[in-house]
């Protein structure tokens, strides 16, 4: 792994098109600012991994018979009240 030292306000550039800037330090939290083209998805790693796991758990080879969903009634909107 490449390890670089940066101070708040300093950046690194990846592949000439993605900028990661250290915005500030707040205790043990580092705030990063990321500028990336919109075709580059950016995710927090732990969130990415849990959603990836969930998707892999959900994917199926078959279309089994489905249960009946008990639909929740929509909330009463102010406009609907008389």
């Amino acid at each position: 792994m490449l390890i670089l030292s940066r101070k708040p306000g300093e950046s690194i550039i990846i592949d000439g098109r993605i900028t990661v800037r250290v915005m500030r330090l707040e205790g043990d939290v580092v705030k990063l600012g990321i500028d990336a083209p919109r075709d580059v998805p950016v995710h927090r790693q732990e969130v990415y991994e849990e959603i990836q796991r969930s998707n892999k758990e959900a994917v199926t080879d078959s279309h089994p018979p489905l249960p009946q969903l008990i639909v929740q009634p929509p909330p009463a909107s102010p406009a609907a009240k008389k």
């Binding site: 959603i51 969930s54 959900a58 199926t60 489905l66 249960p67 969903l69 929740q72 929509p74």
Partner: protein, 142 residues
């Protein structure tokens, strides 16, 4: 984008066999970019989202608003731009369900699929308020 005005399941209309495109794929399935949505009358309101190409696996999806009427998602600005959404009503929202055995199913409310209803471009979005929703929210089924 705040999608409060999306709280109307009847707007969730699509053809019975629409093909949607996911330029980023689903997380963990990044290489699969096209899916066909299969809506069978006897399976409503569920739909199957099936890979267009081999291995043709499927995901079960449903409108989150039928499960949690007050569901609200703050779509990050980057995703709003990517999906080319100008109005909240441009978006259709579905979430992936997992069947876990008889009477036991869950829905992932943390990572909705947002579809631009006009372009049929879709992205699995992680809303800014995702932390308030569960990855395995129980589905009430019979």
């Amino acid at each position: 984008m705040n999608t409060e005005t999306l709280l109307e399941p009847p707007t969730q209309t699509l053809d019975d066999r629409a093909i949607i495109h996911l330029p980023f794929g689903l997380l963990g399935f990044e290489q699969v970019k096209s899916y066909i949505l299969l809506a069978a009358p006897n399976e409503k309101p569920f739909m199957w989202m099936q890979m267009m190409d081999a291995p043709r696996k499927s995901f079960l999806i449903v409108s989150p608003f039928l499960v949690m009427p007050e569901y609200q998602l703050d779509i990050p600005e980057r995703d709003v731009e990517f999906l080319d959404l100008t109005e909240p009503t441009d978006a259709l929202v579905f979430n992936i369900c997992t069947l876990r055995g008889p009477g036991n199913a869950t829905i992932n409310l943390k990572a909705p699929l947002v579809i631009n209803r006009y372009t049929l471009i879709c992205k699995q979005v992680i809303p800014d308020n995702a932390s308030q929703y569960a990855l395995n929210h129980p589905l009430l089924v019979t």
